[in-house]
């Protein structure tokens, strides 16, 4: 009973202090709001409208037609013409354009070859394979995403070039059916991931700095002469921010749903249950930092030390499966990785708690063990 009273006293005090710190209080709402809007629009892995150059040696209207057909894909926009390949290469070096399409002198004859190969496809495959490419792309290959986008043009159909409506392009080897995100919009994958990043940032920072602030301002020396138990202190620090985290979760989910039309396929109860787990784990992580850091500056630095891998390795930015084994191990140690997996599973795939047992158990264990370690590390001593 006494214990509960003390936790409530700490909790009330923490909320009062938080509500008086106008800037921090404002950031609770502003951070998820602005970041989701910003990144929801900004982060886009579909490459569109790359500035491109054109070198046309064909001397026929076919070259111009080809350029128009390519532009129609929206992958590139031709912004400049160059007389020769040398000039085009320099333009790439200067960064004026990302790619250059070179249409060769014998473009017309190549086109005929291509066309006949197309028409005979299915009957004499070897002939189709022998057909020379009709034109060449020079690409600034430093960014693999851009190269991949231009690579995608390799098999584009050229039917529009021939006035007749030729038979459809070469038959596909595979048919691909994208589940959960049929329109292939990046934001569908980004928005739930952003919830993980925003919560990591705010939750870890709140608890990391709040206990250190008490140390810096000398409050700790008084607190530890009172009958407060370390575990009570830890809980009093965590519980207020759980509410803060849930408010942020509501903001992110509401914006995702109404502004970006991200479907929330899982039940809201499940969504909040797993998010609550992650909030606890992040707050505990912050507490662990605060038992180590001596100043708020140190606490901030440690928070950022954790934030970057949480953004880059958690699967938020790049697929987890594509990373080398060692990086995967590091990612596994971050609560954000488990949550990115869980929240995408629940929100996008309507996965149930049982489907995500491993990540859920991991997050729960992290929160519990971390809490005990934080309480043990926080000795009621100054030495």
């Amino acid at each position: 009973m006494g214990s509960l009273n003390r936790i409530i006293a700490l909790l009330v005090k923490e909320l009062k202090q938080l509500s008086r710190d106008r800037v921090t209080f404002g950031m609770i709402v502003v951070i998820p709001l602005v970041q989701l809007l910003l990144f929801g629009y900004a982060i886009n892995t579909d490459v569109r409208h790359l500035p491109a150059g054109l070198v046309d040696h064909s001397g026929s209207s076919y070259g111009r037609n080809l350029a128009q057909t390519v532009e129609a894909t929206q992958v590139v926009t031709f912004v400049a013409r160059y007389d020769n390949v040398y000039e085009a290469e320099q333009a790439i070096t200067r960064g004026d354009v990302r790619a250059v399409m070179v249409v060769p002198r014998d473009f017309s004859s190549r086109l005929v070859e291509y066309s006949s190969a197309q028409n005979s496809s299915g009957i004499s495959q070897p002939e189709a394979l022998l057909a020379r490419p009709v034109a060449q792309w020079l690409v600034d290959g430093s960014d693999t995403l851009i190269t991949a986008a231009v690579n995608g043009l390799r098999s584009m159909p050229l039917n529009e070039l021939f006035e007749q409506s030729a038979p459809t392009s070469a038959p596909q080897v595979f048919a691909v059916l994208p589940y959960f995100n049929p329109e292939q919009r990046s934001v569908v994958n980004t928005a739930p991931g952003l919830l993980a990043i925003i919560l990591t940032m705010t939750m870890v920072m709140f608890t990391a700095t709040s206990l250190v602030r008490e140390r810096e301002q000398g409050n700790i020396e008084f607190l530890i002469t009172t009958p407060v138990h370390p575990m009570e202190l830890m809980l009093g620090k965590i519980v207020p921010y759980v509410f803060v985290g849930l408010v942020q979760t509501c903001i992110v989910l509401a914006l995702s749903y109404w502004v970006f039309s991200v479907p929330i396929n899982g039940g809201l109860g499940t969504v909040f249950a797993v998010t609550l787990l992650f909030i606890m784990a992040s707050l505990v992580l912050g507490l662990l930092i605060s038992t180590r850091a001596q100043t708020q500056m140190q606490a901030m630095q440690m928070t950022f030390f954790l934030l970057l891998p949480s953004i880059l390795l958690s699967g938020f930015m790049f697929p987890y499966e594509g990373m080398p084994r060692a990086a995967q191990w590091i990612a596994e140690a971050l609560p954000a990785t488990h949550f990115v997996r869980t929240i995408r599973g629940v929100v996008l795939r309507d996965a149930g708690l049982l489907d995500l047992t491993f990540d859920i158990v991991w997050l729960s264990a992290f929160a519990l063990i971390g809490m005990v370690i934080a309480a043990l590390r926080f000795k009621k001593r100054l030495d």
Partner: protein, 321 residues
């Protein structure tokens, strides 16, 4: 004996090579105000932190209110109050909120807490400012709030670490009135200070220097046992004043002259006089000094003050003051 509230034997605390507190023996009786007197860095705060269970001693035994420290520190929490050197309540909470927070931490019932806070408002003259943030209070108000918070749960033993360092003399006097009230209620108070006038108000006193105890006793005992005679020499001869020379120059010369003597422990200028501490080995200090001086000076024996005690047992001010 049950009347001993704090008892230590050989209490020491080392930080690396530094002996912050060295072999301190204390025996403090119930219902007294006991002072730690010493300059900054002499081990006052470290000692208090060990006695409150915040620091473990490197060696030595500590018993506070019958509990062995640091082992049973938790049992002590409800029975001691601690006012830290630096203000340690929340600056962004009001007086009322701070006191309510402290009361709940000490698990006072809502009804009792309300009554107790009301009492403290009257006692420490805080009622009118109860809605004001602690961060905007003056030094004196803040100190009264800190004392109110430290005594909120009615502890038997109170530790005050340099409680008046940020307070004007008027407030200091009032503060000590409150301490004597608390003492009258049977509470024991341990207070650290570097002010002589405050130390003089204590029932018992330990003079600390470099972590070691140089003297222990009541101010009166200490002054009586000092082993030093105090002689005040009048400066500025008539001739010097007529020549327009300041008496100060003359006194400084005299002072450095006297400090050469082994029997002179200290010489300090007080306005136009020089206060000289002469070892009590010298039977007639006035004639002893007179025979050494080139010209006739008026001089008289003075009543020793606590500062003299402090200077004579630390010896730290010789040649500096």
């Amino acid at each position: 004996m049950n009347d001993i509230v704090i008892e230590t034997r050989g209490m020491s605390r080392h930080f690396g090579d530094l002996k912050a507190v060295d072999q301190l023996d204390l025996s403090i009786t119930k219902g007294s105000i006991y002072g730690f007197l010493g300059p900054n860095g002499c081990g006052k705060s470290t000692s208090i932190r060990m006695l409150t269970g915040l620091l473990s001693p490197t060696e030595g035994d500590i018993r506070v209110l019958g509990e062995t420290l640091p082992k049973n520190a938790d049992k002590l929490r409800q029975r001691i109050g601690y006012m830290t050197q630096k203000f340690s309540l929340y600056q962004d909470l009001s007086i009322e909120e701070n006191l309510q927070f402290v009361g709940r931490i000490y698990n006072l019932s809502a009804k009792h807490l309300k009554r107790r806070i009301d009492e403290l408002y009257s006692l420490y003259d805080l009622r009118e400012r109860r809605k004001q943030f602690a961060g905007t209070l003056s030094g004196g108000q803040r100190q009264r709030l800190a004392l109110a918070a430290a005594t909120l749960h009615d502890p038997d033993l109170l530790f005050l670490d340099e409680p008046t360092s940020a307070v004007d003399p008027e407030n200091r006097r009032e503060f000590w009135e409150r301490l004597f009230d608390l003492c009258g209620e049977g509470k024991t108070i341990l207070v650290s200070t570097h002010y002589m006038d405050e130390a003089e108000r204590c029932h018992g006193l330990a003079i600390l220097e470099n972590g070691a105890k140089r003297a222990d006793g009541s101010p009166q005992e200490l002054m009586a046992q000092m082993g030093v005679n105090v002689v005040e020499i009048e400066g500025g001869t008539v001739g010097a004043a007529a020549r327009g020379a300041s008496g100060g120059e003359d006194l400084r010369q005299l002072k450095s002259q006297l400090l050469q003597l082994p029997a002179v422990l200290s010489a300090a200028q007080l306005g136009t006089r020089l206060r000289v501490l002469v070892s009590s080995d010298i039977d007639a200090p006035r004639s002893y000094l007179q025979q050494l001086l080139p010209q006739q000076r008026s001089m008289e024996l003075a009543r020793p003050s606590l500062e003299d005690v402090f200077v004579s047992c630390t010896g730290g001010r010789r040649g500096i003051a």
